[in-house]
Amino acid sequence: MALDKQTTAKREFKVVGTRPLRPDGVDKVTGKALYGADLTAPGMLVGKILRSPHPHARIRSIDTSAAEAAPGVKAVITHADFTLPDDEDMRDILVNCMAFNKALYDGHAVAAVAAISEAAAKAALKLIKVDYEVLPHVTDVDEAMKPDAPVIERGRQAETVGEGFSENVTSYCEFGHGDIEAGFTRADHVIERSFKTEATHQGYIEPHACLATFTTDGKADLWCCTQGQYMVRRVCSAIMDMEASQLRVTPSEIGGGFGGKTTVFIEPVALMLAKKSGRPVKIVMSRSDVLRASGPTCSSSMDVRIGMTKDGRITAGHAKLRYQGGAFPCGTVEMGAMAAFAAYDLEAVRTQGWNAMTNRPKQAAYRAPGAPMAIYAVESVVDELCQHLGLDPLDVRLKNAAKAGTKASYGVTFTDIGLSACLAAAKAHPHYAAPLGPGQGRGVSCGFWFNFGGDTCVTLNVNMDGTVSVTEGNPDIGGSRASIGMMAAEELGVPFDKVRTQVVDTASLGYNEVTDGSRVTFAVGLATIKAAQAAKAEMCRRAAMIWGIDAEAVTWEDGCAKPSGPNAGDFPPMTLAEIAAVSSQTGGPIAGHHEVNADGAGVSFGVHLVDVEVDPETGATKVLRYTVFQDAGKAVHPDYVEGQMQGGAVQGIGWALNEEYIYGEDGRLQNAGFLDYRVPVASDLPMIDTVILEIPNPGHPYGVRGVGETSIVPPLAAIANAVSRAAGVRLTELPMSPPRILAALDAARPKAAAE
């Protein structure tokens, strides 16, 4: 694809880079915005799902007769109502939405009812009799990999896995280059450490919710909170065995996703209940359902070995990553293995990854999926080497930083990237020079995310009153309606308030990939700019027609068509509004389209600095100061770039300190609520300072890079490094909850102090 690299240099922007008010603001501050659970339909039923109390059990039979006969019940469904699709991924999604022969984790759906009221639906669930044969279970990744572990499902292991593992290990991957053993020999010091991280949850405040209707002629409508209406249509039409065109999916306003709404959990169930009952069915997950049965992250177990010379040059790096992503095969470890050493320019590097199945819910994406834990382990060992060798952690990172031309450990060669700029900005920032008090420590970490592009389709209509409607297909999770509209306004040369951007249903545009991979501002922005360029070309043609000159003799400047030079003719410029007003006389409506599988997303780097204080008597950690440095390529709306940097940092703080999935010996989730799944609250935090760097992405006309994900990556190691320095003892397990920190402190204290 020919991209406009030349336009990225020193371009003066009029709209991009400003901070207009968000177009969805008023709806959201007045309570008018409609989310997944906010819609009702005439005759609507309440759908409720029965979930397995066992982490692993064969389902011998399900008797739904009493529930079906209960008052107010209009439909009861089990796996028997579905047919397994041929496609393996679709099959896994369906089996995750409704257990077939086995319940695979605590909370796995086994049946569902639709009834005239909440009470009737609840009562009916109690009447469903499931005959379970309870099986041995496993929830820990290391346990699941042992040859004698209970096997979740046979026949899912890839040939590359090799010998010595249980059948739960589904895949193996490997990346790197150079001779690592030779590299370790060259090192003055080598440190090898093992790490564990627990699973966390995206923790979006809006639980999954949907409203399905099905008509007798096979057409269906689905309203749901999702990061991708087209994904929902693709998956649900496959599961329901219907043509994609017959299912229209409309995305609601979305109450947070962070990757967790890039798949389906309840939508096929609602559709089947609607089909069977002939009535609209709404399903809203409870918070407990969300934590037990949506898609948390992988948990991990990792070994990292790094060698360094006395002057801070990394000679070799080796990481072994073991992830579990629940009861189905999961490819996330591959992203961890690719990302682990991405920040470094290394002669010798090797990363290996294994995925294991466990009796846990099916993993879903969470902001830079797979990267935070791998980079946490690497950045922890780098920090310990700096401590051991008495080196400045930012200097060491600057010395080894990946830059344009670096061959990354995962094979690509980087173009222009912003890592060194972030590191240098951190080094120069007053935060880095600020004094620390007793019991306090400062931590540093780099972060990285690949960023994606993908299938994108945008339509831009120039309305006859001179306003512009942009139609796009990606739910707005971070302010994208603003940033997309700003890029349209920039390209067309009109004020931002003349442009309105709408996120539309699946019937209104071609396929758009899910809002994920930090792709929207990049890819939808790119398509919007191209659509605007198409509309400009058409408007130039219309002006040429009016003026009676060649279309090639007309250019677009500052929102107007103009003759391209004195030789083209002497006509006063025509504004977009003037051209639009007479469009009916010049050939009809004016629109621009662009369809693309966008490439060139441009990788993203960030650096975080954090100061903490550890209470040596209780192990409590207080975050005192936090600064985020990140390369945005070009910050389209700086407020929302800052918002991504701050939000991701705080999610990472939660992951580092308190958030975790806690399974009991019985394999059941013990903290399925916001009381004990502890996301950071306002009083836990300081202000989160931000520094935006702008190193243009050569793959985007305005230099834009995705900014959504990188920010969750550095906090894990930044906090771990700060805590380890403050406490004087290295922490290697997340979360660093107070009991873990206190135990580490007590173990490290001289015996006398313990008396």
Partner: protein, 158 residues
């Protein structure tokens, strides 16, 4: 279960509805009265998305029975703006980009309004502790705190 007839005041309007004895005020507001601005994020009083005031006191409407509302005065996010005129807090939240997904926003606005009525000049720490029961997962709270402090300053000037 027989339903209970409740007459109450919501945002200054007298309303009535029939509810189940175990129905929450949140469900009644959303499902009986069509006021879906209050959100259910947890149903256990841990997230604050359902915040309303009951006789002027900030509460989680998911932890109040609808039947308890008889004869009381309830205020929700839907009553915060006066016609087309946004409350200064609402304006400041938009100006400071203090919201992203927006699902926690109604609860935070209701909670903040209650704070500023009680304490017109709160410190940053007081704001953070007052809002500790309002979870936001998008913003990291930074811009929310800035918006609240700025709105408080503007209200003090007014």
């Amino acid at each position: 279960m027989s339903r209970i007839h409740v007459t109450t005041s919501v945002n200054g309007d007298e309303v009535d509805f029939l509810c189940e004895p175990d129905e929450t005020l949140l469900d009644a507001l959303r499902n009986r009265l069509g006021l879906t601005g209050s959100k259910e994020g947890c149903g256990t009083g841990d997230c604050g998305a359902c915040s309303v005031t009951l006789d002027g006191r900030l509460v989680c409407s998911c932890l109040v029975l609808a039947a308890e509302a008889e004869g009381r005065e309830i205020a929700t996010i839907e009553g915060m703006a006066e016609g087309e005129a946004l409350h200064p807090l609402q304006k400041k939240f938009i100006e400071h980009a203090a919201l992203q997904c927006g699902v926690c926003t109604p609860g935070i606005l209701v909670a903040t309004k209650a704070l500023l009525e009680k304490n017109p000049d709160p410190s940053e720490t007081e704001v953070r502790y007052w809002l500790a029961g309002n979870l936001c997962r998008c913003t990291g709270y930074d811009k929310i705190i800035r918006a609240v402090m700025d709105a408080a300053a503007e209200l003090r000037r007014a």
